[in-house]
């Protein structure tokens, strides 16, 4: 692909106008492009024309770089003894100019530094080259240059350092992760907070039979809008609710709290629960359940669901026995609700006493 897109074209023109280096990714396509692009050709022609004109005229006003190099590179002893008279005269002229012209003095200083740098590089190479034997000489040309060799050695050490640093960081991370996993609830895998969705819940358990406010909250929960649902539930005046509505509201709040208390730091990794929040909600739910003892005599779907989510909250708080008690309440009644099958499976996985054997769920329902 040789064509440049408008952005690349603009980038190229900026580089040409400002005499910057051609960007690396355009280098290959530059040549075919410039043959066909009049704008780029114009920029290049103009700058070439200016450059030629300026170089020619500036040379007359100042010393050229060649003259300055020969001046900087010459020593007085060369001037006095070895150079011919014409060269000596030229050196004196250059010297007089440099003395007068601040620009040329600056240029001379720059060239002097550049020569010193060059000498340092060349002398390093010479030290290696001329001090080594004949056999090494033969290898000297194809082998990488001295500076590159030094870089390779440095690169080896830095690579080694990098490996050590990465290994230590990984170990620290692993240890931290282990410690973190240790801190997680024992039954985290059974609670499955991320898989718990309220979308599948049937209408009768999600507020269709309740009051308008609860209906709305149920809708929010079904749409997984947990935070708005919690905010709505916080505004409920519990004094005006019937026991069934109170249970319904408590159930919604428990469901939403369990969902909201689960968070993960990085994607699916490092999950955690806001346990104090769960604890408070569980207590509240237990109070609601204890207010109506007749629930056990006339159990309904909300009651069953509330027990199921209380069992989940207990698992989060690592209280297996209480979880089993709640699950036993759910399984022990003939009321059908959306979480009954899950409750049976959970009780079996937890090994709760009296939990139905595998394959007998239908009989329990």
């Amino acid at each position: 692909m040789t064509k440049l897109n408008p952005l690349e074209h603009e980038e190229l023109q900026i580089a040409l106008r400002n005499d910057l280096e051609i960007p690396g990714h355009l280098l290959e396509r530059f040549d075919p492009h410039v043959r066909s692009c009049r704008q780029c050709q114009h920029i290049l022609k103009t700058s070439e024309r200016l450059r030629k004109y300026l170089y020619k005229n500036l040379k007359t006003a100042h010393l050229s770089q060649e003259q300055l190099l020969s001046y900087v590179n010459s020593k007085p002893k060369h001037v006095q003894f070895s150079l011919p008279a014409s060269d000596r005269q030229m050196w004196n002229q250059h010297h007089a100019h440099v003395k007068e012209c601040s620009l040329c003095r600056m240029r001379a200083r720059h060239l002097q530094n550049e020569l010193a740098l060059c000498a340092e590089i060349v002398q390093k190479t010479a030290a290696k080259f001329f001090d080594s034997g004949k056999t090494e000489l033969a290898e000297a040309q194809p082998a990488p240059p001295v500076v590159v060799e030094q870089k390779e050695v440095t690169a080896f050490w830095s690579r080694l350092k990098l490996v050590v640093v990465v290994a230590s960081l990984s170990l620290c991370g692993l240890a931290g992760f282990k410690f973190y996993r240790h801190q997680l609830p024992e039954y985290y895998a059974l609670v499955k907070p991320s898989q718990d969705s309220f979308r599948d819940l049937q209408g009768q358990f999600m507020g269709k039979s309740g009051q308008g406010f609860l209906d709305e909250t149920g809708r929010l929960l079904r749409e997984e809008q947990i935070q708005p649902a919690l905010e709505a539930l916080a505004q409920i005046d519990e004094r005006g609710l019937s026991p069934d509505e109170l249970l319904q509201a408590g159930l919604y709040e428990l469901m939403a709290t369990l969902k909201a208390s689960h968070s993960t730091m990085i994607g699916p990794f490092f999950p955690e629960f806001d346990r104090p929040r769960v604890q408070i909600m569980l207590r509240k739910m237990e109070t609601i359940l204890s207010q109506r003892q007749d629930f056990e005599k006339k159990p309904n779907g909300y009651w069953g669901m509330a027990n199921f989510y209380c069992a989940k909250a207990c698992l989060i708080l690592e209280d297996r026995q209480r979880a089993c008690d709640y699950l036993g309440q759910v399984i022990g009644t003939n009321i059908r609700h959306d979480r009954k099958d899950v409750a049976i499976t959970l009780a079996r996985e937890l090994g709760c006493a009296g939990s139905p054997a595998k394959g007998s769920e239908s009989g329990m329902q």
């Binding site: 400002n18 410039v34 004196n92």
Partner: protein
Amino acid sequence: MAKKAWHSIRKRMGGESESGGVHKQLCDKTLLLQAQNGNEQTRERLCEFIFLAAHNYARTRHLPRPHRAKDFAQEVVIEFLSQLDEIKDLGHWLYPVLVGRRAAMYRNSDSKFLDFLDETELEKIKAKSEQIDIAEIDYAAHLDFSLFLTQLSKVQNFIVSLYYLDGLRSSDIAVMLNIKSSTVRMHLMRAKKKLYNFLNPPGEAYNDETEPSRA
């Protein structure tokens, strides 16, 4: 007297002393003499060394794209072979060659992009710049180059000279003048604009798109 002056300049430049540094002998002078007397083995050995030294220098100091360190080193070796008989001190010859060649590459970095032009077009550009000189003679009062230089500020004058005469990059000039690289580019563009207007008839305005602020 000249020696004293030289020492004072060296001192001001922060350069090396006479005894060492830049003029430190690179190799035994007999090697150079042997090569000059036609000893093929020594000549090859010196060529190897110069190739390696030039390559190292180019790798360390960088070259403008698309020049390669290998090509640079080869050119220096060719120059060495062509001037071998005249060389008296290898270091004394090699350092300015390396520095000068690299600077010339930067100075002519625009020319390498003019491959799209054929010979006649290149001649046209050359002729156009020659015409400017003739015009200068004809209208010396108006088109005198020194007059143009007076139109530039001192900083612009310095920057233009360092850029076009020595082929220094804006980053190098910025270090020398202790200003920002972007400021150097801005001054350079303003100077170019002035020069363009100076060289062209009043009707032809300078293309403002070339302002560096767009960069």
